[in-house]
Amino acid sequence: MKSNFKQSLKSKILETIKSRKISMHSKVYFLARSLLLTSGVLLVVLILVFLLSFILFVDRANGLDWLWGFGFKGVILYLSLQPWILIIISLVLILVIEVAIRHLSFAWRRPLIYSAVGVIILLASFAGLVARTNLHDVLFKNAAENRLSIIGGLYRGFGLRQFKNIYTGQVSQTSASGFVLIRPDNTQIQIKYSNQTHFPNGPIKNDDEVFVAGRISGQTLEAYGVRKISPNEKIQSGRGRMYRWNLRP
């Protein structure tokens, strides 16, 4: 009885295969599928390296990395000013890569945390390397001069951001309680010190060019920190600072 049943299932399956004209996928099909998957993953990796290095570039181009020297409030401000939409897109793409590589035996044989950390370290390393080149500076310059059509908006949007808590300009009329900041467009802001204001690279004097962050109220800014910008930093290739000075009002 049991063998009859076995026979019947076997016959049923063979019959189904023949009658439904089910054919096996060819080796070329599986090869093409693997190639497509590999190409897709590589493309996502390239996009991610670009995005992550761009996020690092945006931080530098806008001087956001200097906020780390402005204490706890500076760090909070740094986090709040991050291009979160790009970070969220990057996280989603990292998840896509993680899902794709979990099909590979070297990944699923180990706990997920290992492959996830591995992917993040690798991507961050590549992004760090790309961020050290002048790729984004060149693209940014072209975008600012409207010579970059497809991704120009990305650079113009994120590279030339205006923040209501961050200002750059020249120091004038210093006093014990603050100074007047003359911005590149010649408008003035009163900068007020508090006992929590940080000066990461020393005290400020008249005519210094500075980067200031804090809480603005009317035309007065209570500074979390004031950082001198040295001439080297202004023109340093790959730091994006010169673009900010040249292009932002």
């Binding site: 399956i13 063979l14 295969i17 023949k18 054919s23 996928h25 706990p111």
Partner: protein
């Protein structure tokens, strides 16, 4: 002269070369095991054989992806696992998480379990009566280990999980089984 018994992998080579009848031999070899696996995992459906039939059809369609040098058993079990899990998702809406917390971090659970037969003796009543009541991810590991008598490494390959995660699931599955049975006032 005794007839030459071909291994599963040798039969697969024949099927890959276009011998459809040889595929029938694979069906005979695996049908009983897969139906048993389906019956225990998809306990509240009556069409186990249709689901198993679909497993074999998919195996046939994808047989060219079977790589020489690998073992056929984990390969077809993997197809069965995917088919059964999809069936559970579709029909029961049973929660099968996309990312399993058990597979995220490393575990120090023993990789070997020498007392399988003794444990099976102890758990046989629980498996018969309470298996249906534990979550699918634990149910499946218990089925594969105790009823299909597969090794941790084979189960890991089928489920594509680290071996230590298989150990964790088995441990939690056993605990869950015992707890549910105790709750139902049944003696193990």
């Amino acid at each position: 002269m005794r007839p030459v018994v071909l291994t599963d992998e040798e039969i697969v080579l024949r099927v890959q070369d276009g011998d459809i009848q040889a595929f029938g031999e694979l069906v005979i070899r695996y049908e009983a095991r897969l139906v048993r696996y389906a019956k225990k995992l998809l306990f509240n459906f009556n069409d186990h054989e249709d689901v198993v039939q679909e497993v074999f059809i998919k195996a046939y369609k994808n047989i060219q992806s079977f790589k020489a040098g690998s073992r056929f058993s984990p390969w077809i079990y993997r197809i069965a696992h995917n088919e059964f899990v999809n069936t559970l998702k579709k029909r029961l809406k049973e929660p099968l998480p996309f990312i399993d917390a058990d597979a995220i971090f490393p575990h120090t659970v023993s990789r070997e379990d020498p007392g399988r037969k003794q444990e099976l003796k102890e758990l046989s009543v629980a498996i018969e009566t309470c298996l249906q009541k534990i979550p699918a991810k634990y149910r499946e590991v218990i089925i594969l280990f105790y009823l299909q008598e597969l090794e941790y490494v084979e189960i890991a390959e089928i489920l594509r999980l680290p071996v230590s995660t298989v150990g964790v699931r088995l441990k939690r599955g056993r605990e869950s089984l015992k707890a549910i049975c105790q709750h139902l006032n049944q003696h193990l």
